[in-house]
Point group: D4
Chain length 253, copies 8
């Protein structure tokens, strides 16, 4: 209930059209109805190209399929993340117009290509080939949300020239997603080369003292380059989503 409907209600009470008990009843729920607006806003946001997302990890194939069916029935765009090939196969059989992306380990179902909305370019940089699934998850998420995405893969800091070779692309970016495992140093170096927002994604790539991505995570949090923000280990979706939020900021889409 917004200010206008509140005035309207009060006018009704003032004029006797609504009695006190009924008004009381409606007002009692107002905070929740007000808060319920957020749900509607949320839905609107989703219709604007933001996919509804199912995190596949820790759900059975049956659960994933059931939730997906519910979302698809509402006509919404659908994104399922972190699912192996066999779950992807089940979903592809169920939703024949959907796509399982083996690189990103995702399934998505959208009506038509995501519309390019004329925003800036999101550049996804990754350090090694093993970081590819996480990088692809980020790239696909940003693309589904209507962004142009450019990829610079296998550009780790131990061969800095590989990164510098793509410097123009880096500088062209509106937002960057930088994905790295092991020591997670790539965001610091990229952050020193460009003055654009960087969403850093540590990955669990590595062994021994990488402790499942902890080394990369700590490295990125301690980055000596200002402007680097960090998401959870292996959270490609979150990084793509944040980059899309950053990218659309001024357009009131």
């Amino acid at each position: 209930m917004d200010r206008e409907s509140l005035r309207e209600l009060l006018d009704e009470v003032s004029s006797g059209r609504t009695n006190v008990d009924d008004a009381l009843q409606r007002l009692r729920h107002m905070p929740f109805e007000n808060l319920g607006f957020a749900r509607i806003d949320n839905h609107r946001a989703l219709r604007s190209g933001f996919p509804e997302v199912i995190l596949g990890t820790g759900k059975t194939t049956a659960q994933i399929a059931a939730i997906a069916e519910h979302i698809a029935a509402e006509g919404g765009p659908l994104l399922v993340t972190r699912i192996p090939a066999d779950v992807g196969k089940v979903l592809t059989q169920k939703f024949s117009s959907g796509t399982y992306n083996a690189d990103a380990r995702t399934f998505h179902l959208v009506e038509g290509e995501p519309r390019d909305k004329g925003r800036g370019e999101i550049v996804v940089v990754s350090a090694g080939t093993s970081d590819l699934p996480v990088a692809e998850e980020a790239a696909l998420t940003a693309w589904l949300m209507g962004n142009r995405v450019t990829r610079i893969y296998d550009a780790g800091v131990a061969g800095i020239h590989r990164l510098l070779a793509d410097r123009k692309t880096l500088e062209r970016a509106a937002v960057l997603v930088v994905v790295a495992g092991m020591e997670g140093a790539l965001p610091s170096v990229v952050g020193g080369l460009v003055d654009r927002p960087i969403v850093a994604v540590p990955t669990s790539v590595g062994y021994g003292a990488s402790f499942g991505g902890l080394a990369a995570l700590l490295g990125m949090l301690n980055s000596c380059a200002a402007g680097v923000c960090v998401v959870n280990i292996d959270n490609g979706f979150g990084a793509g989503y944040a980059a899309a939020l950053i990218n659309r900021r001024n357009q009131r889409e």
Copy 2:
């Protein structure tokens, strides 16, 4: 060597004023001078409102004063972070036009008020009164970089109505910086209320199992709200800087 001096050199070679060997000698260093361009860009960026920053932690008063003098001599805006009152006093004596901010524990020296550049509003939200120094460091940094900053303080999740009371301000924000210690839950709740980029700052406020901010940090990294990015514990400057980068993204300032 910037683009202009490079053209000048080439003109000299073209006209014979400089011979090939001398040019070669000077150009041999060009890659580094070329890379030095970034430094100059950087300086330009700084003149546009981005302060040069000295992290006070781990430096002696003498070291801080010396570096500050160097920066001030170059006429640049100056920001010193994480300094106690006595260091602030020394700097204020040295640079009479500068300001020590006891809340943010910062000293800054800028020529005139930072110009409002007509960008969106950066909203800094903090959970508790003890998070104030970090929140103020973020707010001051963003303000020094030319942004309008609104503060919502003491709005922790255990009294959710305190946060909801400022919901309109939250929704008006272009970017949000959300600062919280203890369990660090605030960014998740804010992230569920708005669809704007959120820079989350865990603080070391707490005791026992907060382990110096680790609990808040992990909480924010695991946020169930998409679009939340995280910076280092107590890194108010980094959050303010990142928010400013995000906010100016499209204006090519």
Copy 3:
């Protein structure tokens, strides 16, 4: 040896029916028999509706079946927790009147429905669908101990309106069990809405920097809401049991 048998023994000594040496011999063990009272109390407590519990984790199917048979033979209520479907099947074949609950991953055997004892309502709140097994383990445990249980599931803090929509139910609760993985922020928010005891259960739901539930655990321990107590990660049984203890406190059942 309870108070009555102690009196009986002393009467025998007093009347000469038992001589001092024999009494001494029997009394020498009294402390342990006295302490054994607790065992008997315990049994009585169990007969009052508190199930005997077997933690399935780390036991073979054969071991579980053997212990279950022993308890069933004594006629007691039986609860086996954390068992997969195949163990549940073995137990269901053995005890045809028992029930395997696939959601809670439990097997229980009680005579008749647990009697509602007219206590307050225990409300089990969970943050996400993946937290369901732990939440169900808590709910089933509390129900087996004679309590009315209401469930509010999938009410994570990133969509705070989902939780607020059930505010009346929350306020009606005598005790709350709040289950959450990832950042574990839900107990803090619930704790700010009600002034009832909250038993918080962190779950291992999450990935990366959730470190197997550590993030949620630390989050809950650092809750800024007073009145929140925490049990072990994924310990649905312990939470349900504690909630039942809290709920029956004054009735001397």
Copy 4:
């Protein structure tokens, strides 16, 4: 604004005593006042014996004094925790009717003795003499909230007879707060002796591999006794508060 004053306002509007604009002005804050109901409830709760609490840690003496003055001005009971003797002295000078408790490191200001509300007994057990400040903080909090509190101190598990000597007191308890540092084993042993809710408080007492209370915390979380809930390391206030919530549960105070 509670339900009654809301009805009153609507009656005023309905009868014309208050016009729409004035009502709107007052109601504009209603959602927040509605949500503020919790705050008012809270105030009511506080007047019923629940103190308003200021966590002294990380606040300056000036800040503490200022907040305390604000609370005292509203006539509410006041509790300040974790303050050293010198802060206590400042507060005692400011509020001559208040009390600094050197054992609990608290300052409180209440009108008259907290009224005993005829609830059950809260028993605070501690393992060693060094755990005393935390145990006293819990005891004082519970007492300020209107509960009878009994203390069993220095009853660590390495001399189990010291604990067993007070077995009757343990069994008489309605709720127990069990405080222990080092290995934190006391709650498990107490939990095996009684079937009452136990709020376990790990303390930072210890050295070396106690890692600031981590050992005690983990020990308590892994307690093999069902019904044990845990609060943060050294969180005596939280334990006393939770115990009071549990104790008053059924009386609708």
Copy 5:
């Protein structure tokens, strides 16, 4: 080279039977041969009833079988620890007089029963049924080394009367091995009841915040009972071996 052979060599040089160069050659290796004495001592010790031990973890069945064959060929007693049933089967087929102990997950091959050497009694106490494999590994090791071993199993601290019921056995012990997972509190309680050396063994039994035995390990290291020493998590063999060393100390066996 022991003292006697050294004298012999010197006698040979003194009498001219060995010339200086040859003696020099032999003496050059003396330190290592001297140090080699330890090896021989070791062998002697082993023949006295101390088994040669193969840690099965991380070795292939083939590797284990090969090393076992080598030891058996030298006629020595043999103990293989931490092997599953299938490896046990292979060894039993190879060494028909050996025994695979499914409880302790060990294979041993000794000539005749270990001789009871009239030492004190080693009492192995365990907290829960899941701790049994580790407790049995300790018991079997101590028994193989010629000690009488008594077992008190399933005597966790949450039912302290179960432990106290066996108090006489505890007090009779010369050395105790106390095995516990979860919170690892048992050694502290036992340590408060007896004044005998206690070798505490944390186990990985537990879940969630037990972190693979870390909670039990820290608990035992922080034991408030003096005289408690700790071995590695799940190290039943090490505890049994240490207990045997302690037990035979004065007999110069």
Copy 6:
């Protein structure tokens, strides 16, 4: 209530001097008095040369002095550990016949020299000079408990010859206490040289990745030498006490 007083009570009942109700009253407390036997045993043990110990850490000088006075008044031997020189001075002024040991940071008060009881030799080995306070605390504790103690200090593994030079002393030991910080490797090497029980004490000596003694602690727990038991970081007292328990085991002192 010991066995004799129990018989006496039964005699009184048998002869009618005490009636059943009075006996019941007194016997009701018997278990605790029985358990109190342990306390008396304890006292007896203490009189036999085992000091009563006060851990100075975390206690105020006043608290330490008060407890010490209580123990001294009972005539018992007294040991206070981990106290700085100024506390030692206070105690020395209070108990003129006591001794403050600046190396071990202890104060003790015993009547006459601890009597050598003809047991084996306890050898305390330490790795570096900074480990001395911990090693001295162990040595002093063992000596106060009536043992001969030999010291081998500054014998770290990086100069293995320094250790081997004292090999004869090592082999002569009945029990060894091995103290080391940094990587904590010394117990493994000593354990390979002798077949006597070893109580290993990690110290917090070190910096950086020693993490306050964690590295040494983990090193010792993972020792590849069987027979090594470990106590808490810096726990010299516990090691000396355990060594003394081990050393007196068979003499029933």
Copy 7:
């Protein structure tokens, strides 16, 4: 762009064949082309005997095979690390002249035997038989890079004589690679015996409190022997590579 092509470009400008704008365009990219030289240097280095390396962990067999084919096509030496036998089989079928080393879990393809380049000897020491795969990976890497490699295996510190027996070999070494799991004490002891550079490799061999190699890693980092450097847990390749770099340092190969 190397020096020659730069001179050529300048000659073209000087002679007017290239105008300033075109030269400017080409020179703008020079830094990156210059940095590209490093790539070529890199290739040259590889041809000199340094193998191109594929870390097998986290790559599919198809990915490994594809990358291997690419490298083999360029005629370069090839090393694939951390691959199980089945991947080794696929590679052996594809590259018939290559070798799968089951001990080191590597596949390599080199033309002819690595040429011994007359450098010093690299000695690889390992503590236990389970450390063999890591030690072999180091030895094979160093050998492929043209070094003589000597192995001293199963020389753990708990039997120091086993190590001392090979003292001459240790002293002969130019560089040492020391591999150990569990407490990781071997490098300290070796470091005390020789004054040569030591590359220490912690392994994940162990259980319980070894925490996947963390204990060994911390032990080595805290080594009291100067001159010990450490690589990641289980990083045999890295150690062999570093040892080879150290060994060839002065020869400008």
Copy 8:
């Protein structure tokens, strides 16, 4: 006892000048004297320019002064590390020819300048100005051991051009010591630029999630650049020493 004196002793026995018993007596200590050779070698090594080192941390000024006096008395070079200015002042007063280096926090006493031995150049690179004390400790150590040392300071990865500007110096190095705090990424980048051995030193510079240098340590251990070895956090001395060992390897100095 070295080879020559051993031969001499045998000659004495052979000729009858020394009888067997006396020789036996002297030879009994031989193994240790033989092992003592290492000590003598060590001394020789020290005289060749390797300083004797006292780690100041955790020692009192008196202890440091006493040990220093002992070393100075033997005429050896002396190096004391990690001492504050006041300890330096005491040493400077005691040893007037020694030098306290405030940057490196060291005191050293050598006769004459360390002789340059014509080895390769050791380049010490550091990331930030706060890393200077550690870098200087490394540089001073290497210089005291007779090496030419070049410094490249304040060359962090966030401004990669600062590092690339000194590329020639990097490539000229025989060995590199790379010092960095925060995310510790510098060794990876340097390791990608040169193919020389790199000794990486993590520092405790940073805050929050740097966890006292842990982030930098893990980053360096997980470096994607082969050839990077790591020493303990802040261990400048160890890095300088290791670099010197590597540098002198082939010269048999």
